[in-house]
């Protein structure tokens, strides 16, 4: 089969099983768009901003586990996509981004719409390529998908000069079923001796803790994690990225970990004697100051990326390998061991954790007459039966969503944890909904974040992608305001959102349904209505308590057992102390 470069790209994507392409055309990719026009297998979603393309592909990838694919033009197309690429990079999401480039002969001449896309993207991709030879195009595409999806996944950029895609130059094409890259051989299998040592240490624990992260979800190891944790009977906490790998409603799950995690998770983290980290990277939002982190624990760390191990926290037993394989091996040893799990050995530990749980560290003041952001998420959880795909933007609303929506399944909670990219939520929700048209998909956002990629409402209409937007409208860049309240004596510097648009009218202008909710009594019905309008995008503009804060909180420099509680939570603690229920 003789094909042009453009036709090779399209045919390759089909052969690779790609169904959706998120993109935006321009001069350098005109040939590719022409080839796209002549076929019907690959559905192209025309976004309204290239950042949206990258986030939508990212949401699609996180929800499905398949790589997300983008196509953007050179210059501004490529630079616009960078935020989305960096977002995917920080959260290890498999993305393949094809950027058009000026013709080969013009590279380096400051040609119209020329940027060094390979250079600009280098620090925020897993790998990137500039295609210089048409004969290497198919192989390069295959390498890109292979690198993006294997090992620790991540985005790969392929920069393709316009002449490579010219319609009149045709070469034979055959789908490269396999590639070998001699310098790239991710190791999935953990070292057997290390695995054995880890199991022995785990069984010797008096105060064990399991800490799992996004790597478990990325590796498709949720079932293995569940079996492992249930077999051991140990408490588990999950990171922001890990939620849903282990069921949020399972009694062994003691809640979110880290800066805004539960009291019991953070206390247990501080006091544990053996910690096993699985597919988590000891991010600073988890560890706080490394010197005060888990002072009594021996640490087992399972990660597919050797560079993540002992980067910030030294592991006593490092295991380089995929979560799925390593957990399977560990469970095998545990099941076959003649040493049964001694549940009584950890009884005291569980009792201690149960006493911490009495703290009810997500308790909040249900003030009269004003909607609390936490209540909105509780409603959302109830109305969707806990089964929706929830994407989020970045800020207080993100933390409330993580705290109050209990994810029982992996890939349902989709947020920008590593880069913390405002603007992620809506395009990501679009990507998820395109992958799963029959599922409920909601984007939890704030009036600040939503305005960063608002334009994608137009895409939602064009492609009939009915997502629900849950806007926690506190008229503040709330998370920043919270820090200014705590650490800058309430000097609210440039965090008040004045002159906000009328979100209801704006949604209507985009052809969608807008509903404003101010009265707490209307919240439930409005939420129900939004989800009953199955085939419409609904924007719920919910006016929430302006100065609500996210609690509990570990401030900079503090240890896990030095969480700050809200006034209400402090009252609970005081009465528990009086009654002797906690120390």
């Amino acid at each position: 089969m003789e094909l042009s470069g453009s036709e090779i790209i399209i045919q390759f994507l089909k052969d690779e099983g790609v169904e959706h392409l998120f993109g935006y055309p321009g001069g350098a990719v005109l040939h590719i768009y022409d080839a796209l026009h002549k076929q019907n297998d690959i559905k192209h979603i025309l976004v309204r901003h290239e950042q949206g393309a990258a986030h939508a592909a990212d949401g699609y990838a996180r929800a499905t586990g398949k790589p997300g694919v983008c196509l953007v033009t050179s210059g501004p197309g490529a630079t616009n996509a960078i935020t989305g690429i960096a977002t995917a990079f920080m959260d290890s999401v498999p993305l393949v981004v094809i950027t058009g480039q000026v013709p080969s002969h013009a590279i380096g001449s400051d040609a119209f719409q020329e940027v060094d896309a390979v250079g600009i993207s280098r620090p925020c991709v897993k790998h990137n390529f500039l295609v210089k030879d048409l004969n290497k195009l198919a192989e390069t595409l295959k390498k890109a998908f292979y690198i993006a999806t294997t090992g620790r996944p991540g985005p790969v950029v392929i920069d393709i000069p316009k002449d490579i895609t010219a319609p009149h130059i045709k070469i034979p094409y055959e789908y490269p079923k396999q590639v070998k890259i001699r310098s790239y051989n991710p190791n999935l299998k953990g070292h057997p001796r290390q695995i054995k040592r880890a199991v022995e240490l785990l069984l010797s624990a008096k105060r064990p803790m399991i800490y799992s992260g996004g790597g478990v979800i990325m590796d498709g190891a949720s079932q293995e994690l569940r079996d492992f944790v249930h077999h051991l009977g140990y408490p588990i906490t999950q990171t922001l990225m890990g939620l849903g790998a282990f069921p949020g409603t399972d009694p062994q799950f003691i809640g979110l970990l880290g800066m805004h995690g539960t009291y019991e998770s953070n206390m247990a983290m501080h006091d544990c004697d053996v910690l096993i980290a699985i597919g988590a990277r000891f991010d600073d939002r988890i560890t706080g100051v490394p010197s005060k982190f888990c002072p009594y624990a021996q640490i087992i760390h399972i990660d597919i990326d050797p560079a993540s191990i002992s980067k910030t926290i030294t592991a006593d037993i490092p295991i380089v390998g995929g979560a799925k394989q390593v957990l399977t091996e560990m469970l095998k040893i545990l099941v076959n061991s003649d040493q049964p799990i001694d549940k009584s050995a950890t009884e005291d530990w569980w009792n201690k954790i149960k006493s911490w749980q009495k703290q009810n560290s997500f308790a909040y003041d249900k003030k009269e007459g004003v909607i609390q952001p936490q209540t909105v998420i509780e409603e959302l959880y109830q109305v969707t039966g806990g089964e929706a795909y929830i994407t989020s933007d970045v800020g207080q609303h993100q933390m409330f969503a993580a705290q109050f929506y209990h994810f029982d399944e992996p890939r349902r909670w989709i947020n920008s944890g590593g880069l913390g990219t405002m603007g992620f939520g809506l395009p990501a929700a679009m990507g998820v909904k395109i992958a799963f048209p029959d599922k409920d998909v909601a984007c939890v956002t704030g009036e600040g974040s939503i305005q960063m990629c608002m334009q994608e409402l137009s895409t939602c209409l064009q492609y009939d992608v009915p997502v629900k937007i849950i806007n926690l409208n506190n008229r503040y860049l709330g998370m920043v305001r919270q820090w200014q309240e705590f650490f800058y004596e309430k000097r609210y510097s440039h965090v008040y959102m004045d002159a906000l648009p009328d979100f209801v009218k704006l949604s209507e202008a985009y052809g969608h349904v807008g509903i404003k909710v101010e009265d707490p009594n209307d919240l439930h019905d409005a939420m129900k209505e939004a989800f009953e309008l199955k085939d419409r995008t609904v924007f719920l503009d919910i006016i929430t308590d302006q100065e609500a804060n996210v609690y509990p909180m570990i401030s900079a420099g503090k240890a896990h057992n030095e969480m700050e509680l809200s006034p209400l939570q402090q009252k609970i603690q005081a009465s528990l102390k009086t009654s002797g229920e906690i120390a």
Partner: protein, 164 residues
Amino acid sequence: MRHIVSLLVENEAGALSRISGLFSARGYNIESLTVATTEDPTLSRMTIITTGSDRIIEQITKQLNKLVDVVKLQDFTEGNFIEREMMFVKVRAVGDDQRAEIKRLSDIFRARIIDVTDTTFCIELTGSGDKLEAYIRAMHEKNVIEVVRSGSMGILRGERALTI
């Protein structure tokens, strides 16, 4: 501590910037970096001299290994290896006495004079960094016109080799 890390890298455009970019992005020190193609034209050999605590050096080698272009890597520091650097020095050499003195000094260091004019010598010298520095010190500072150093390269002693 000072470490000498040797790498085999895909001989591809961009590989060098990936590696130097890694050092600048993560704030690692880089004392010198040398690179050239090997007998296999698809591979480049690189020697990097870097400094840092054990923890940082461990991160450096892991992060380098993670780069798709890096085929193989070894930290030579603990092992038995040879390190050499090459230097050109252009010195002012006027008058018989001074010219004789420079020649004598160069002989001691096994340096070679590779270019001569009425007023200058250009000298080539190979050795460890210390030796090169000692030579420059021995030359009177005011006589030194120009110094060009290659940066170190390293190779393992004996049978052991960094190959694929």
